[in-house]
Amino acid sequence: MTGELGQLALCLALALSLVQALAGFIGAHEGNLRIMAMSRGAALGSFVFVALAFFTLMYAYITSDFSVLAVAENSHTAKPLIYKISGVWGNHEGSMVLWLLILGAYSAAIAMTQPVGEGENTKLGARALGVQALIAIAFLVFVLLTSDPFLRFYPPPFEGNGLNPLLQDPGLAFHPPMLYLGYVGLSAAFSFAAAALLDSRNDAAWVRAARPFALTAWTALTLGIAAGSWWAYYTLGWGGFWFWDPVENASLMPWLIATALIHSMMATERTGAFKSWTLLLAITAFSFSLIGTFLVRSGVLNSVHAFANDPRRGLFILLILFVAITAPLALFAWKAPKLSPGAPFDVASRETGILINNLLLTASAAIVLTGTLYPLVLDAAEGIKISVGPPYYSATVIPLMAILAVAMPFGPIMLWRRGNLRAALYSLRFAGAAALVVLLAVLAIARPYSTLGVMAGGLGTWLIAGSITDLARRAGSWRRVRHLGAAAFSVALAHAGLGVTAFGVAGTAIWKSEGIEVLSPGKSMAIANYQLRLDSTERVQGPNYVADRASITVFSGGKQITVIHPEKREYPVEQMATSNSSIRTTVISDLYVVLGDPRDGGGWVVRAYVNPLAPFIWIGALIMAMAGFIAIGARIAVRIRSARSQTAAGLTEAAE
């Protein structure tokens, strides 16, 4: 029964989305406040029904209702509860319902935060809700026609197929919702951009409305990508954190464009520069989300994310993608003559910094897209199977990022419209000196030499020192730093966070040690300044797996530090095996040990890495996300304060 309830809820959500779209567009066109209010009500209702469908599905997973096909295929009674829940989105059908849920949440948030009285901005909000509803309709139809999550299966099996053990991981329970919060959040920026185009008004109003959503999306993407990379680091057993896998690229591209977008939005809102460009970026950012979803979900890529699927789904997403890219671009071309030009600015100004940022980030996204699509195109066109390896990305994206990092500290220090490059250089003299010292120091001690490491070390210092300089300069003196506004802190933290990540990259690029040996019990191997002694291996039984578990004693400088237990697990239900590496971290450095396969004579392959500064990579990402939270929080606080002062003003008026 519950399955049918979920299906019904999705159909009702579809009906309400139609109302939301029609009422949004018609209400805005007629200037009718009541019709526009209806659109907002429909958005809230649609969200409630999608949430009902989502929780119905979750209930089916928790109770192991195997009469629902998706549950039978992806769940199992022996699975821990958390993975029954995360199993909801660990497959194509469920992940699309999660997508709908988040899309509905953003629409509801737009409905609740946009102005409701007479005025142009109410129309803008109504049109944005209309566009948002069109996206929801497209995906609801997609789910109902091609990926019904509630499809029944008769007779129900006694036991389910289980979830891919690689996905049974706390890091991965968190990664997809975060990523979707980012992907789908960009739809809100897209909807406001489209609404602004429909209105033929590219002033700052749409940017002001869309910026909190863009910031939320960027923050969530940052966290989602970091979670994915962390998961890959500790589960895949390769000791690396980024593989330039096409699926990783699919999430990196929207992040690059979203980063460009939040910067150009800042300029458009503040000074009116880049008016049309920001519109285009908002459209592009969501298009990249859709491209990412298409690449990942259509099965054209070879990865864990390519869930079992049929080609109709790929075609359908491709169709949505095509419409979502061409329709707003056509609208843009049509309205372009009516749009007002961006405000001018001097060459030496913060806008120029943002321009550099935007050029480098969009160029990087284009390069990543080329590398990701090239093998697909070549295969489709000529049947030649190739793959594009990490060296391609190292040779292209990393130099662009290095140039970006050089320019980054200048942005916040320069003034809007009319800055002074010489003054900025003077302010940054200490940061520059610090960066140079670190660069030379790394150059002197890095053995073997690594260009990436030396550059990342120097630039990381430059970014962090640049952020500190900016804070100090704004405050005037150190004691007053704490009186600075949230905006200054969020910019400084975001830029410094990238610097911290750069340190992590530098550390792993230069001082990474790697060792692999066959150890029989009692034998030791050396790695960096650690000694690893394999004491024993034993067979252990987990809740839904059996494992070979090694006990390895770690010594450093002759002293025993700890005993670690890397495992090799086998999941009988899924007929899968995974390696569970052991990571002993001191934050400054990770000791990473993987248990390989057994060899003749009772030995086991043991692979160990020492990754100095590796945790900094994710700490940096967390700092960047924190910057995002501060920026969002500050905006919400401003809203609440202005709402309060408005009510207060209203009250005094009424009293008089």
Binding site: N302, I367, P375, S387, V388, Y392, A395, A577, D597
Partner: protein, 152 residues
């Protein structure tokens, strides 16, 4: 030219230079870093890549061919049913590396005709078969219909 037009021109030139530079960089790097895929039959029938060129091979791990001795090195044979290539690899094999299952290896050709793999990739879960392997098996006529390609 008035200053406004001048600024627009400068902007356009920057854009074109930046775009062109990025495109040039991308094309150059693509030329340097694409890894071709060869099935065992391709290696017999087509010109062999030069010894220093990294490329990928794929097929099934021949049943009974995996030799692990006491040391690190593992030897196995990759086959597409028609031809086969001996492969050597030192390292930790992926968890789902099994005899009779699909595998893709990245590496170079050694002088003795074996393939020295620097990386071995197996599937991510039990349903998955790398598309290159499916393709190689189809071309050699050893693909069993009824197995679901691509989905996977």
């Amino acid at each position: 030219m008035n200053p406004k037009k001048q600024r627009r021109l400068a902007f356009a030139i920057t854009l074109v230079l930046a775009g062109g530079g990025a495109a040039g960089l991308a094309i150059y790097a693509l030329g340097q870093n694409t890894q071709f895929f060869r099935s065992p039959t391709d290696l017999v029938e087509q010109p062999v890549p030069p010894p220093d060129r990294v490329f990928r091979i794929g097929g099934l791990v021949q049943t009974g061919s995996v030799k692990r001795d006491a040391g690190l090195e593992v030897r196995f044979v990759v086959t597409d049913g028609k031809n086969s290539v001996p492969v050597t690899y030192s390292g930790v094999l992926p968890d789902l590396f099994r005899e009779g299952q699909g595998v893709v290896a990245l590496g170079k050709r050694s002088t003795d005709g074996t393939f020295a793999a620097s990386e071995v990739l197996a599937k991510h879960d039990e349903k998955y078969m790398p598309p290159e392997v499916v393709d190689a098996l189809k071309r050699s006529g050893h693909w069993k219909e009824g197995e679901t390609p691509g989905s996977l």
